[in-house]
């Protein structure tokens, strides 16, 4: 009986386990079946896609944008790395934070010029919030990043110091102010300047490759045979000469500030090749502040005024109507033609052709042009057409305007229009085209296209090299070009631009003072210009300077406002390579160098009395006084103009002696 009970108990126990196992097995089976049913009704593709999306990616291999260089190889624009700094306050240990926060805020305060308490307050707040991605600063350059990453706490890195760095690429100009508008940009679809114009060369082709995730932030490339390598952009060497650009920029800026002008432009072109060596456009943003933003040189058509007289008179010279012997009577400087009053600043009686140009006579120019072309204006206009002054110039930069010159088939044409055109009104043209014309005259009648690209390089190899493109083989007869060059030289030597004459560099050019918006009431507005080339005998560069809306109470004439900019550019361009001066200016006599160099005067202090040092050369005297045991304070350079103590005053050792020097 007892055995039976024991057997039953064991059986029951076994059966209980058996049932339990069966229930578990059934549950597993049901779950299994359930899972199969779920899977049957689930979009497996979605799961597969999810997995693939999280663990695989098609990475874009960014092609590097090419660099933009000046002609001498100096970088104008390049792509650089910028650093954004974030802080993870959760990972910073309490001890690390409390022990170093003082030193860190000190360093940050010095770097950013803000009170350290401000940093401390911000950091304490963010630490309380346990912010893991607090933006500290954005857009640091390498030097700044290199400095900040060595600060206390930050130097412990990402995992211990919570120092997170995001690296971004940014297109930057090497010379932040000089030529920023000319160099331009290509950003978010906005294109301007050289960057925009040469984007097709600079932009490379992005590549692609498949990558697999290996941890939270690292990916490894897979399927190597399917990789599409990126093709980097090409390097574009522009024709700009950074030195000339810098000279032109500072010369123009200085003059704009002095004359409180609204904006100004300078173009410097190499005569033989047409390569644009400098292109500066400065616009006033606030009084005394100018930025290079808008390309007035090509995007604005203006009535040039007197600089157009060169064009008019060259037409008449080429047709043989006028020569050096031709004279024109400008009378008292006022002439009424077709009911239009034409005037000069002053009368002068009979002018030779060179005087008409040198003295910039509106009356003389209008009288000559109307005399020979009033009945057949088309002949005159044909010259302009031949010199491409009616055509939109084909250049690499976008946005160039098409000149507008009133012609007889235009309803604005009247009996006085030809006279008006002759001295630069009723005609709208951009400065680049005017510069190209003057460059043609400088190039002995050979007009070449302005060039902005010097060469294009890829992987160190030149794939394109710009060559001069002749637009007009012969603008005018050799005689006419020669006459014009002489007249333009005379304008600088004896004419309206005589203020810029220097015997050290022969320049040729024409001033221009044009009123604009003359149909509007209010104060008169002027554009002062100067167009010319240098050295006049063997021209190397052509330069056009235009300054718009100078303060008329300070000055507005081309000779006083624009010409000095031309002179400074011309002079400084050849600063390192002085040109030969004319033979008659050379003094052909032997010199004794010993006589030229002033001997070093020895001074002595007798009876502790201050000697006279006035008139002596400072660089010789100052060391002598110092060697005698006196302390010397001086200002200026050159000869000693004033001294203190005065001659004969008793002086003691270590006494301070004040000297004023002047050349």
């Amino acid at each position: 009986m007892q055995k039976q009970n024991e057997y039953d108990n064991k059986r029951k126990k076994t059966l209980r386990w058996g049932y339990l196992f069966a229930v578990v097995a059934l549950c597993v089976f049901v779950l299994f079946i359930g899972r199969i049913i779920v899977l049957q009704n689930t979009n497996v593709q979605e799961i597969k896609d999810d997995y693939i999306n999280n663990n695989y990616r098609t990475a874009t291999l960014k092609a590097a944008r090419g660099n933009l260089y000046a002609s001498d190889g100096s970088i104008l624009a390049t792509t650089v790395m910028r650093y954004d700094i974030f802080l993870d306050f959760k990972t910073m240990k309490d001890t690390v934070y409390t022990n170093n926060i003082g030193a860190l805020t000190d360093s940050l305060s010095k770097m950013f010029g803000k009170p350290r308490a401000e940093f401390r307050k911000r950091f304490d707040e963010q630490r309380k919030k346990e912010n893991q991605y607090y933006s500290l600063v954005r857009g640091l350059d390498f030097d700044e990043y290199d400095r900040i990453r060595k600060f206390p706490i930050f130097k412990k890195g990402k995992n211990k110091g919570g120092f997170i760095v995001d690296r971004n690429y940014k297109r930057e100009l090497a010379t932040s102010e000089i030529g920023s508008g000319t160099i331009g940009m290509d950003k978010n679809g906005l294109k301007s300047g050289l960057e925009g114009a040469f984007s097709k060369y600079l932009t490379g082709t992005d590549g692609k490759r498949l990558e697999q995730r290996i941890n939270s932030s690292q990916w490894k490339p897979i399927d190597y045979w399917k990789v599409k390598e990126p093709i980097d952009g090409q390097d574009v060497y522009t024709t700009l000469d950074l030195r000339i650009q810098d000279i032109a920029h500072s010369a123009l800026e200085k003059q704009l500030i002095h004359f409180e002008a609204k904006h100004g432009t300078v173009i410097v072109m190499e005569v033989e090749t047409g390569k644009v060596r400098a292109l500066v456009n400065l616009r006033q943003t606030e009084p005394g502040v100018y930025e290079d933003a808008y390309n007035y040189a090509i995007k604005d058509n203006i009535e040039p005024g007197s600089t157009f007289k060169t064009i008019s008179l060259l037409a008449a010279m080429d047709d043989g109507f006028i020569d050096e012997k031709t004279t024109v009577n400008v009378g008292n400087g006022v002439w009424v033609y077709a009911k239009q009053r034409i005037s000069d600043d002053h009368g002068g009686g009979a002018y030779e052709i060179s005087d008409v140009l040198a003295k910039s006579s509106n009356v003389g120019t209008a009288k000559l042009i109307t005399k020979y072309y009033a009945d057949k204006p088309q002949i005159f206009l044909d010259h302009l057409r031949r010199w491409k002054l009616f055509d939109k110039m084909e250049i690499e930069l976008p946005g160039i305007t098409k000149p507008k010159i009133v012609t007889p088939d235009n309803k604005r044409w009247n009996a006085a229009t030809l006279a008006s055109i002759s001295y630069g009104y009723s005609t709208n043209i951009n400065l680049l085209q005017l510069t190209t014309f003057y460059n043609g005259v400088a190039n002995k009648g050979r007009m070449v296209k302005p060039l902005f690209i010097d060469k294009i390089m890829k992987d160190g190899k030149t794939i394109f090299e710009a060559k001069e493109e002749v637009i007009v083989k012969k603008m005018a007869s050799e005689k006419a070009i020669q006459m014009m060059t002489s007249a333009l030289t005379k304008a600088v030597e004896k004419g309206t631009a005589r203020s810029i004459f220097t015997p050290n560099l022969k320049m040729a050019g024409k001033t221009g003072t044009a009123r604009f918006e003359y149909w509007l009431p209010g104060p008169r507005k002027y554009r002062a210009s100067f167009a010319g080339f240098y050295p006049a005998d063997k021209p190397k560069y052509t330069c056009y300077v235009m300054i718009s809306e100078p303060n008329t109470s300070i000055g507005f004439y081309g000779s006083t406002v624009a010409a000095p900019v031309f002179k400074e550019i011309a002079g400084k361009t050849f600063l390192k390579t002085p040109q030969n001066i004319e033979k008659e200016m050379l003094v052909d006599k032997k010199v004794n160098l010993n006589k030229m160099v002033e001997p070093n005067v020895k001074i002595a202090v007798k009876n502790k009395q201050m000697p006279s040092v006035v008139g002596l050369i400072g660089k010789n005297i100052i060391p002598q006084l110092e060697n005698l045991g006196y302390r010397v304070d001086y200002k200026g350079v050159g000869r000693i103009k004033e001294q203190f103590p005065l001659e004969g005053t008793t002086i003691s050792k270590n006494q301070r002696i004040y000297l004023s020097l002047q050349n």
């Binding site: 690292q218 002079g571 001066i581």
Partner: protein, 79 residues
């Protein structure tokens, strides 16, 4: 199987090193660009002019003379 896992691990390690080196290369490129940019700026005559103005030195406004000197000194050879 073990060899495969280990070799995969080695590959991943190398990729991490390569990525770090790539980043370093980019940094050096940036550094080079900054250095060049600074050099260009320092070399500019307008910048130099500002620097030397503090020492009472003025930049030339006009074109310099080209001197032609004939020596009559017995010590020096005529040029």
């Amino acid at each position: 199987m073990m060899v495969m896992i280990y070799s995969n691990h080695l590959v991943n390690k190398k990729i991490e090193i390569v990525n770090a080196l790539k980043e370093e290369t980019e940094e050096y490129k940036s550094r080079n660009a900054y250095a060049q940019s600074k050099l260009i700026k320092v070399k500019m005559e307008s910048e130099l002019g500002k620097e030397v103005a503090a020492d009472s030195l003025m930049t030339l406004e006009s074109h310099p003379h080209k001197l032609l000197i004939k020596l009559d000194s017995t010590d020096a050879k005529a040029k």
